[in-house]
Symmetry: C2
Subunit: 463 residues, 2 copies
C-alpha cells in the first residue's frame, strides 16, 4: 500500500474520520414516482454484483496499532451492510435530508470490510430522491472513484443502462470505447476531463499533508521558490474537533455567479471565494469571534494543461479572504489581488515546484493528529475552499435527471470547516461540512452566502 493511501488510515481518529462523501439529488423521469426511482436504484445496485476491484479492497491489518502495509480483497460484498435505504420523516424538507447526512457523516467506516457505503434516501416532499455516498479517502485513488460515479450517469435521458458506480461493467464499457477509437477521447472524458483533474486536486492536496514537511524543506533551498507562509488568525474554525458533524448545502444558478464574474472582471473561483468571505465574516460576527486580521483560505488549484493526460499535477494557493474589510467592493478588490498574485507565482513555477509550494502552504496538517497540537501552534490558513467544476450538460441515471450535487468533505483537527463547491448542469452546489459541537448554527452560512452574492450583484461594474 503506497504511503499516499496508508496515511489516510494512519491519520484517522474517532474525532477525525477520513472518508469523503457526496450527496446527489435526482428528479424522477416523467411519470415515475420517487418511490419507483428509489426502488430502481436499490434493485440495480443489488444486482451489480460484479464489483470493480477498488470497491473490494480493505486493509489487511485493520487494527489501528498495526502498520498499514497491504490491501487485501474481499471475495464478495455484504450489500445489506453497504447499501442502505431509508425514508425521511415528514415534512421531508431539505433540512431533514441535511440532518440525516450530518448524523451519518461522523460515523467511522468499518475497516474489516471494503470501506464505502451508499444511502438511498426517499421522503423529500419535492419528490426528488437522494443518494449519499461515503468512501474512505485511502480507497479512492485520486480521481478514479469520482470518474466511476460520473460514468454511471449518461447525457442521454433515454439511456436505461444505469447501474451502480462500483459495477465492473462501467470499466468494461469504457475499455470498449477506448478500443473502438483509440485517438478520440470518450464523450465523458471530453466533458469531465478538466473537472476530474480539479476534483483530484482537493484529494491530492489534502493527501499531501504527512509528506509536507519533507517537500517543504526541499522548497526552501530552491532559490526560485517563493515562500507563501503567512500567519492565519485564531478562530473557532481552528479548534480541536469531535466526531459529530453538521452539513449544510444549497444551490445557486451558475449564471448568477458568471454575471458577477463578468461585471467584476474576476473568475468564477474568485466569486466563490468572495461569497465565502462575506458569509464567513457574517457567521463569525454572529458567533462573536470575527478576528481583526483576514481569514486565509487554502484553495486547491489544478495544474492540468491541455492534452496532459496526467490529472495529478496539482497544488494549492493561499488566499487572503479580506474578511477584515466591511465593504464588499474592497473585499472583491483584495481577493482579486490575492488570487492574481498567487496565480502568478504558480505560473512561473515548474510542476514539482508548484507541488512544493502547495505542500509548504499546508504543512501544519502534518501534525494534525497529535491531540491538543492544533490549539497551540501557528497555522498558515483557516479553512480549505475547493471548487470542482463539472460538465454543463445535464446528466441522467436511467432517465432520472441529476438535479443537485454537493460534496461532503472532511473536517480535521484545527480545520473544523470545509467548503467544497461543485458546478454541474448550470447549478453551483455548495457543500459545507463542519464539526458539530464546535460550529453552532452552521446552516446560517447558507443565508449569509445568499446575502454575500446579492451584495456582489449590487456592486457597480469594475472599470
Amino acid at each position: 500500500m503506497p504511503v499516499t493511501e496508508s496515511m489516510f488510515l494512519v491519520a484517522e481518529t474517532r474525532d477525525q474520520p477520513m472518508h469523503v462523501g457526496g450527496l446527489q439529488l435526482f428528479a424522477p423521469r416523467e411519470g415515475q414516482t420517487a418511490e419507483a426511482l428509489a426502488d430502481e436504484f436499490s434493485e440495480r445496485f443489488h444486482a451489480a454484483t460484479d464489483i470493480a476491484p477498488m470497491f473490494l479492497k480493505r486493509p489487511a491489518t485493520p487494527a489501528q496499532v498495526a502498520g498499514y502495509t497491504a490491501w487485501t480483497e474481499d471475495d464478495d460484498v455484504d450489500f445489506d451492510y453497504h447499501i442502505r435505504h431509508i425514508i425521511l420523516p415528514r415534512p421531508g424538507e431539505i433540512k431533514d435530508l441535511l440532518r440525516y447526512v450530518s448524523q451519518n457523516h461522523g460515523a467511522l467506516l468499518d475497516r474489516r470490510r471494503p470501506m464505502w457505503e451508499i444511502h438511498i434516501i426517499e421522503g423529500l416532499k419535492d419528490g426528488r430522491v437522494a443518494l449519499y455516498s461515503k468512501v474512505h479517502h485511502s480507497v479512492v485513488d485520486g480521481v478514479t472513484a469520482l470518474r466511476l460515479l460520473q460514468r454511471s450517469l449518461s447525457t442521454d435521458p433515454a439511456d436505461r443502462s444505469g447501474t451502480a458506480f462500483w459495477d465492473m461493467e462501467l470499466v468494461r464499457r469504457r475499455r470498449r470505447r477506448h478500443a473502438a477509437n483509440k485517438t478520440d477521447r470518450s464523450w465523458l472524458d471530453r466533458v469531465t476531463g478538466a473537472a476530474s483533474a480539479v476534483v483530484d486536486t482537493a484529494g491530492q492536496v489534502v493527501g499531501m499533508a504527512p509528506a509536507a514537511a519533507r517537500v517543504a524543506t526541499a522548497g526552501v533551498f530552491d532559490k526560485d521558490y517563493v515562500a507563501p507562509l503567512q500567519m492565519a488568525p485564531s478562530t473557532i474554525l481552528n479548534q480541536s474537533i469531535g466526531s459529530a458533524r453538521r452539513f449544510a448545502a444549497q444551490d445557486w444558478p451558475v449564471e448568477r455567479l458568471r454575471a458577477v464574474a463578468r461585471y467584476q472582471h474576476m473568475t468564477i473561483n474568485d466569486v466563490i471565494i468572495a461569497m465565502c468571505a462575506g458569509a464567513l465574516r457574517s457567521y463569525l460576527t454572529d458567533q462573536g469571534g470575527l478576528p481583526d486580521e483576514s481569514l486565509i483560505a487554502m484553495v486547491p488549484v489544478s495544474l492540468h494543461s491541455e492534452g496532459d493526460s496526467d490529472g495529478n499535477a496539482v497544488t494549492a494557493m493561499s488566499v487572503r479572504m479580506a474578511t477584515d474589510l466591511e465593504s464588499p467592493a474592497e473585499r472583491v478588490a483584495a481577493i482579486k489581488a490575492s488570487t492574481a498574485g498567487a496565480k502568478n507565482v504558480i505560473r512561473g513555477l515548474k510542476p514539482l515546484q508548484s507541488l512544493a509550494l502547495g505542500a509548504a502552504t499546508i504543512w501544519p496538517l502534518a501534525f494534525a493528529t497529535v491531540p491538543g497540537f492544533v490549539e497551540y501552534t501557528p497555522r498558515g490558513f483557516n479553512l480549505i475552499i475547493s471548487n470542482v467544476p463539472g460538465p454543463e450538460t445535464p446528466l441522467y441515471w436511467n432517465g432520472a435527471r441529476l438535479d443537485g450535487c454537493y460534496p461532503v468533505s472532511i473536517p480535521m483537527e484545527g480545520l473544523a470547516m470545509n467548503i467544497t463547491v461543485t458546478t454541474i448542469g448550470g447549478k453551483a452546489g455548495f457543500g459545507i461540512i463542519g464539526a458539530r459541537a464546535q460550529l453552532p448554527s452552521l446552516q446560517r452560512i447558507l443565508v449569509h452566502l445568499e446575502t454575500a452574492l446579492s451584495e456582489l450583484e449590487d456592486l457597480p461594474p469594475a472599470s
Copy 2:
C-alpha cells in the same frame, strides 16, 4: 469518575464500541396511526428539555489517550443530533428494522457530547412503531437508566403523561410518590424491582472485567473459594471482531417457556439456556464449526434478596451448555445439573465471595482490548447469556402498548456474540447481537431457537 465507569471508556475501540442498546416496539392506541404515534414520540421527546443530569454528562477529556478522570455536564443537548427519526423502506418487515439496528449499532457515540441517542422508527407494515436507544455503558450507572426508561411507561392505558426517559419530571414524580408514602414502594418499584436487579447484573458483571484479575487473586487465596475455571472450546464465537454488527430478535410467548419449565422441573432461565444450546449447536453445525466439547456460557445471576435496597450484589455462573450432546433430553439433564451445581456454590458464599467468583469466571475479559490476544489465549467461556425478567403487566406510553422489548448488547474481542433475553408483558424477547463479518447468517439462530423450543416441548415430562 469511578473506575467502574471509566473502564468502559478505556476498553472501547473502534471495533468494540461500549454502548448498550434497546429496541422496543409499540402498538398505536385505538384509532391512532403509526405516523401519529411516531410524531407524538418526536414532539414529546423534543419538548423534554429539562434533562436528568446523567443524560447531560460527558467525559471532560474525550481523547482516547487522556486518562478519564472526570465527567463534565453540558448545559443543553442538541436534540437534532440525539433524537433521530426515520421511516423504513418498503416492505417494512421486521428484517428491515433489524437491518437498520444492525447498521447503526456499530457506530461509536461521540464523546464530545452526552453519550446517548434515540431513534424513532416508522414504516413497519404491521403498523407498530419502534424505538431504538443507544447509551454508553459508562453513562448508565447500573440500573438507573433502565429504571428511567421503564418509568416513562405506565400500567394505565388512559395515562397521557408519556415523556422521554431523560425527562427530569420522571425523577420528580418518583420523589413525590416516595415523599407521599415513604414505607410503601411505588407500583413500578414493586413491579420492576427484582427485574431491575437482574438487568443490573448484566451490566455489572461485564463491567467487572478490567478489575477481574485483582479480585480473582484475592479469591484464590480464600480457602472457602471454589474455583470455577474451566476451558471453553475454540469457536467462531471467540474471534477478534470488527465494528460492523448483525442483530436478530424475536418473541416467544413466556407461557411456552413456562410450560417446558413445569414439565421438565427446571427454571425459566434453564429453559432459555437450553433453547440457546440447541440453537447454537445447529448454528455452529451449519457453519461447519461445532466443537467436540460443550460450549460454556457465562450467565449473570442476581444476588438481590428480599428487602435489600442495593441492586448491585451480583455475580455470574459458568454453565456447561451440553452442545456436544445430540439428544435434547440429555442436554436438558446436563444443563439442569450444571446450573444447579453452580447455584449451590453461589448460595454457600457471602456476597463478596460471590463477586470474586464471578470475576474469576470472566477474567480473560481483562485482556480483551489487547489486539490479537484473544486468538491465542485460553478462555473460560464462549458467550454471555443474560435473562432479564420484567413485569408481567402490560405497559403503555401515552396509551400505546409496549409490544416487544429486545436488548441490544455488546459483542467484545473474543466474544463475538451476546444473547440477552427480556420477558415483559407475557413475551420473551430474544436479542442476539453479533460481529457481522465473523458471524454470517446470524438470523438463522431465530429459526434454530424455535426448533429447539419445539424439541423441548416434545420431551416426555421429567419424572
